[in-house]
């Protein structure tokens, strides 16, 4: 098990070979913004919010998809990165239909928090106002694609932790959408065990428990760490 030594924001950091720059930074107390990454699930590299500058590499690299290397020099905080992150979040707002004032996740939303932490006060690109579907066919949960940012945390948790693989995506670009099983309504997807894991990992108000009203949907992130630790280390402890 070889250990790599690198520099992140001027700080000497070590990481076991194979770990990501994101993970090494996190261990060292350096928090890189992220949206698609969630500890305990595989990496996807879909949102590009974790972009960092690495010396010798001309292009920005997603920290969650980049493995630590000996002698790497990484910067996670620069005017250029900040500008990119800001624009990415603005694009996410413009791409979907985010009407926070009437959203179940208002006040408990990772997308909103990102916007706030990046100092976004308005969106500089035109809102697209796409026609997207709401699926309320499941007896306990609902999916509102207007608020989906396609991080696919739901898809990964359902596949990798629950083992059901109910969620998948269909289409490309602007017509990308989340589908249940072979594209039917969630309520009729036989693979779903109704465990609710997807709802808990969703960073936005796209997946929520029925009966939640504006601002009422809070997500419990700790459960994922609990299950993952329990499986990997056979320790059933709640932190």
């Amino acid at each position: 098990m070889s250990v790599k030594t690198l520099t992140i924001d001027g700080k000497m950091v070590t990481g076991v070979a194979g770990t990501s720059v994101f993970g090494a930074a996190w261990e060292a107390g350096i928090q890189i913004p992220r949206l698609c990454h969630i500890g305990g699930l595989s990496e996807l590299g879909a949102c590009r919010l974790c972009l960092v500058e690495i010396d010798e590499r001309p292009r920005l690299q997603p920290a969650c998809m980049t493995e630590v290397e000996e002698g790497m020099v990484v910067r996670t905080d620069s005017a250029r990165l900040h500008a990119h992150r800001k624009l990415i979040v603005e694009l996410l707002f413009a791409e979907g239909n985010h009407v926070c004032a009437v959203c179940v996740s208002n006040g408990h939303c990772e997308l909103q928090d990102l916007a706030t932490s990046l100092g976004i006060d308005h969106v500089r690109v035109s809102y697209q106002h796409p026609r997207r579907q709401v699926d309320a066919s499941h007896p306990r949960f609902a999916l509102d694609l207007n608020r989906c940012v396609f991080c696919r945390r739901c898809m990964r948790v359902c596949d990798e932790v629950e083992g059901a693989h109910t969620w998948d995506v269909a289409g490309r670009g602007a017509s990308l959408r989340l589908i249940a099983d072979l594209g039917q309504s969630w309520g009729s997807a036989e693979s779903c065990t109704s465990c609710g894991k997807c709802v808990q990992v969703c960073p936005t108000g796209a997946l929520f428990a029925k009966g939640s009203s504006v601002g009422e949907m809070t997500k419990n992130r700790a459960f994922l760490q609990y299950i993952v630790t329990a499986r990997a280390q056979h320790q059933w402890i709640r932190k």
Binding site: F93, V99, L111, H129
Partner: protein, 190 residues
Amino acid sequence: MSAQTSAAPASVNRAGKPRLATVWLGGCSGCHMSFLDLDERLLALAERVELGASPLTDFKDFPPADITLVEGAVANEDNLEVLLRVRARSKVLVAFGDCAVTGNVTAMRNLFAVEDVLDCVYRQSATVVAGLPLGGDGVVPRLLPRVRPLHELVRVDHFLQGCPPAADRIFDLVVALLEGRTPELTRRFG
């Protein structure tokens, strides 16, 4: 990007006080209600400003203002005309509340064609159908094809989020502008 206009506004009236105006476009008036929630601080504010155009005053035209808070998105031809005039006559223009900043609930109709929206409201869900208010008759303003936030149409100096923004935040903003400070604004986007 918005110009961070933070210079102390010069007085424009006989009383020597800066003039504060508020405008109501395509919104629910909730931001104005929140403004009224300043309660006794309204008196403190009244000491420092002269009230210009607002839904409470009766100006036939918009007199020049130092600070104008504009509530609501731009939803119809009338809103657009008012906004352009207000921008031309305001030193500092604030997008007041989520509808002004993002389009918010007002812009939810952008998912549909204007004709379909009017048809749904005035024909399908009406008990008495008296025709569609299509505008252009000088009585009802014509709806724009898309509801838009202010900054897509004019320069906006400051963005005050919230649906509605809390009274404290409105007060902080106005006081900061009066004192020539750049207001701290983003507490939550959207």
